[in-house]
């Protein structure tokens, strides 16, 4: 691919414009500009330098992913972690397996725990009320054979539901942090390249 310095820098800028802060982007650009300058001073051509640096698209992708992961680390929110994961996926197809799948599994797990918690917390009190009605003598509401025991079971189901919901929150927090570390590791260690 025939390229020159302007192309290289242009592509970098184009890819990173919306994401990186102005200051950071200028920093990066100056790094590569300086590299080109030094290279040319040693007598290398634009083309040669471009080839040895590698694809600016790949570099931009890595920088973008790093930036978004850092952002998700500093400011914990659903949308930030979501963006960070998406950017990391862009680093290579294999990340569909190593990043996307675990991420989806985690989401499903958190969701299921939450739903079960809600169900318990809602139907626990309902069961409790039914038990009381049953104890008061209404066989039509008979949902278990021993309503006295049933009432206590209903209580424990309700509190268990609440515990599940609270536990889910802590689980989410834990996996958020672990996730950030994992993404950082993923970005720094693995690269998918056609050449080399």
């Amino acid at each position: 691919m025939l390229q020159n310095e302007q192309e290289f820098i242009r592509i970098l800028k184009e890819r990173l414009e919306g994401t990186l802060a102005r200051e950071e982007l200028d920093d990066i650009v100056s790094d590569y500009s300086e590299h080109f300058r030094m290279g040319k001073e040693s007598g290398r051509t634009d083309e040669e330098l471009c080839k040895s640096l590698g694809s600016p698209e790949d570099i931009a992708r890595e920088l973008k992913a790093l930036h978004l992961v850092k952002k998700a680390e500093n400011s914990k929110s659903c949308r930030n972690i979501f963006h960070a994961v998406i950017a990391t996926l862009g680093l290579g197809l294999f990340n569909l397996v190593f990043v996307l799948v675990p991420f989806l599994i985690l989401l499903v797990m958190l969701f299921v725990v939450f739903i079960v918690g809600i169900l318990f917390a809602v139907f626990g009190p309902v069961g409790f009320v039914f038990s009381l009605i049953q104890l008061a003598g209404q066989p039509a509401f008979a949902i278990w054979l021993n309503p006295a025991a049933g009432a206590f079971f209903a209580i424990s189901i309700t509190t268990m539901g609440l515990l599940l919901i609270i536990g889910d929150y802590y689980l989410a927090r834990f996996f958020y942090r672990v996730g950030i570390r994992y993404l950082k590791w993923n970005i720094s260690v693995i690269t998918d390249t056609e050449e080399i």
Binding site: L135, S156, L162
Partner: protein, 279 residues
């Protein structure tokens, strides 16, 4: 790294919005955990003492309860009636209804229960040549439920001799109806929670046959030679139809002929599997 602002961290946000400090959350968790464990243990304890644990046998510890189980049989003769109507209402327990009552008897019911106060109320009435019987669970007061251990078992035999309207309502428990030898005029079965097993005969039922179940499995057996069509509305659960033919929204017995007298069965089921068998 920039200083953290309140809106930046959705986790911190959530906690602060609920106006809790870390310390209070821990307390809440410990309380919830304690209540869960204690309630569960109490529940199990109640079952253990009063004997409703699966596989366990009850202890008759209460002064309200007479030891041993009581059973008695009541017989209700036809007395010349040529048509019968039987209504059975049971709150919770096991119910079996079958044909083969002795000659000239409309209904013979055998009831097993722990406490004499649990004896069902049976009322008869006569209207011309029709005799009606209702058998009803009185309903249980709190004292009885805590003091008494199930089982509550009714075994009802009905007459094969006269046409019968049969209505069965059960709140909770397994219901087993072998109506294959009965001369059934109409049938209504309602079971709130529990498994239901119904076997019908080949004679067509002129009236409606309605089966409404809340939670539990249904097994419905119909002779292949009967002229039967069944429509099923099932909420959650599989519907299996061995031996039946699917015709539109109905399941029919093989050789179904709408020109001849038909038994039409309507099944409504909430949660549970529906097993239709043409035998």
């Amino acid at each position: 790294m920039s200083a953290k602002e309140p809106g930046d961290d959705m986790f911190a946000d959530l906690v602060s919005r609920l106006n809790l400090s870390g310390l209070t959350v821990t307390k809440i968790i410990l309380w919830l955990l304690a209540i869960t464990i204690v309630s569960f243990v109490i529940g199990v304890g109640i079952l253990a003492v009063f004997g409703d644990l699966p596989g366990g046998h009850g202890k008759t510890a209460s002064p309200f309860v007479e030891s041993g189980s009581l059973g008695n049989t009541s017989s209700f003769p036809l007395e010349g009636a040529t048509y019968g109507s039987v209504g059975i209402t049971m709150g919770a327990g096991e119910l079996t209804v079958r044909g083969g009552a002795p000659e000239d008897t409309l209904m013979e019911a055998t009831v097993f229960y722990r406490n004499a106060e649990w004896q069902p109320v049976i009322a008869e009435s006569v209207n011309g040549s029709q005799k009606s019987i209702t058998m009803t669970d009185k309903g249980h007061t709190a004292k009885e439920w805590v003091a008494v251990h199930s089982p509550n078992t009714w075994d009802v035999q009905l007459s094969n001799q006269v046409p019968l309207d049969l209505t069965v309502h059960t709140g909770a428990g397994d219901t087993s109806l072998d109506l294959s030898h009965l001369n059934l005029a109409s049938l209504v079965v309602e079971n709130g929670a529990g498994d239901t097993e119904i076997t019908l005969g080949s004679a067509p039922v002129p009236g409606s046959v309605e089966i409404n179940l809340g939670i539990g499995d249904l097994t419905l057996r119909v002779p292949k030679s009967g002229n039967t069509r069944i429509i099923v509305h099932s909420g959650v659960g599989d519907v299996s139809r061995s031996g039946f033919v699917e015709q539109g929204e109905f399941f029919t017995t093989p050789g179904y002929d709408p020109e001849r007298p038909v038994t039409e069965i309507r099944v409504k089921q909430g949660v549970g599997s529906t097993s239709l068998e043409a035998v």
